[in-house]
Amino acid sequence: MERLRTEGLTKQFPGVTALNDVNFELQEGEIHALVGENGAGKSTFVKILAGIFQPSAGKIFIENSEIKFASPKDAFAYIGVVHQERELVPFYSGICNLFLGQEITSSGFLNRRAMQQKALDFMRQYNLDLDMDTPVTNLGSGMQEMITILKVLFRSPKIVIFDEPTAPLSIKETDVLFRLIKDLKSKGTSIIYITHRLPEVFQLADRVSVLRNGEKVVTANVTDIAEQELIRFMIAKDINQQYPKAILPRGDEIMKVKFHDSDIKIQIHAQEIVGFAGLVGSGRSELAKKIVQGHKSESLNITLDNKAFKPSGPKFAIDHGIVMIPEDRRGEGLVPSFNVRENLSFSHLSFLSRFGFRDEKKISERCDSIIKDLGIKVYSQFQLVNTLSGGNQQKVSLGKWLDANAKIWIFDEPTQGIDVETKVEIYRIMERLAAQGAGIWFISSDLKELISISDKIYVMYQSKIVGEFMRPFEAEEILQTMLGIKNKEISEVTV
């Protein structure tokens, strides 16, 4: 019997279509895996089913009757979602978290014993033995995850969505989870299982669907499809012909990062754009932050211009010609209460001042030239940076370094949430910086853009550098490495 069906589900954000015309269907007692690259639309899909987003178009049917979720509350009764982010009150025990908002009371007081009994009975149903009395903040991440799952199941939803549930789990806990999921299935619950770990798909699921660029490209029985085919479906067809890349002759080596006990070392040369691929959470940003903000571990050995470089904070890095454009533009790249002029200047005021007093004329001239140079769309320097589009904010965020003569530019997800036209402008800026002799450290979750504009790509997996790829790139091979399928063949490196 059909449990859930979506017809033409579409979600548009300003400038981006996150989900496009998705027809998806889920049977009673089915485990349906959902896979796709970063940004393929999986999260958007889940958020619509959880009532967090409203679809721009399309319909949702549950047991053949159309249904509309105006808020997460409406979705609760039908669909339980185990999100990647945990939703537990840290200082409450498992019991208190379980009964949050639906506590059992007698004459106005909490009835602990009744709650405990009910929780025990409930756990017994699923053969689980969890620590429900310790404040969850004191439990391991695996146990927290299991309590989160229990909390979702407690509402007895007919459909449960798991969003990468095994990421924080140990092997033993993963076994427990798989047993639980199969148990749910045997009781008739339908399950949507989202994962980056393809072997899990074949281990667990009945069917699998692939999302790519917001569209569903295939649904198949897992017995009818091979891992290789699955990967091919995940990779966009036009991956190698997105953006015309100018190949520059490689300059001198600027930076080298060596890791303990490993052959793979990161090398960045002048005029080179070096891509960093990996799944979200694979440690790409963390590695870059170690270079810029300093680190305590001895596992990194960095040389800059053939001299040892010991990172000790952003100012030190900037003084040595390393600048970073952080992923979180609004949170780390910009001062939201400042206007464009201040945002372009605040890191450079010592050069734009006389005897400690701001030189407003110099500041104005410099801002004007950066705004013109990067084509930032503003009506004046004094426009608040908050009122700009994402692309223009990104240009301001990177623009402040434009005349800093940086040798290494670290871009962390520079095109995330930016419209297509501005994306291309950002690529051009990166290429121009490279042409001027800088080395570009380019972190992105979008494999397509990495492949189009990088000269070399390093792949990270679980905080390790696991692969190094040169042009011409094989998208399939890179994706396999990102997903951890091919890692065994490559020497693993601890960062």
């Binding site: 903000q293 949170g331 780390e332 790249g333 605040f346 010592s350 400690g356 007093f357 701001r358």
Partner: protein
Amino acid sequence: MNVSKILTQFGTVIALIILFIIFAISVPGFVESNNLINILTQIALLTIISQGFTVVLIVGELDLSFANLASLTSVMVAGLIIHGVNPTLAILICLLGGIIFGVINGTLVTRIGIPSLITTLATGIVANGFIYMYTKGVSFYSGLPQGFLYLGRGRIGPIPVLVIIMLIYLAIFHIFVNRTVIGSNLKATGGNAKAAFIAGINVKFYKVLGLAICSFSAALAGILLTARLGAANPEGAGGFLMEGFAIVLLGQTVSAIGMASPIGTFIGALIIGVLNNGLTLMGAQYYMQDIVKGIIIILAVVISSIQTKRMGV
């Protein structure tokens, strides 16, 4: 520009003007130059102490200790002078003590990571303890030299020295915050400490600096308070905490994006000063002032939260 935009951008200044006009029409003697100078004299100490608190808000921290610190320097400067210390030296000792107090606040906040609200609540209590240790709860009445009292009571022509000190202090803060590199770095630190850090700004230093400037202002205000009253009592500056908060919050609404600023704080002080003075001249009971002030603070916060939402800051 529509009406609501004008109101959120200039509402506070308009409110001051309207308030002024109402009192000018309805209260005899309000617009006389003597009374206007009086208003400025009444808000001088509040303005000075609140300039420091303004800078603390600019770096994104809080300070609950400044009023107690002002009381402490108020009794300390009196005690030192009465016990024979040269007045200039006594003033310098108190000012230096204020800076050290602020650096201790800042160090606890930035190095140990105690939130400034809690840090300064605690150090404020400690300051209060020192006051009673030093005074045994007794006020200092006599023995202050004329030269010292001149700071609080003297006049240059028709203008009180205190008002001149306030105006100079205000001008210095305005220039410091808006025209210097250090001022810009203070604003960047408060605007987004993470972004400032990544851009190479020493965020911790500027937080300490902000708290030290606040304590310096409090120490100065405490000294001037003693010079004005010709006496010092253990809780002399206690009222500055609430009033200081009030005018800085009011002052935040002066800027279009709801940020604290020296001039904004001065306008906040003017509103409170005009209100206090006008209501007193009208013969309103003293408790009316508190009720009106409380309501004004709530209005100010409502306006600035609307501004903040509008700007998405």
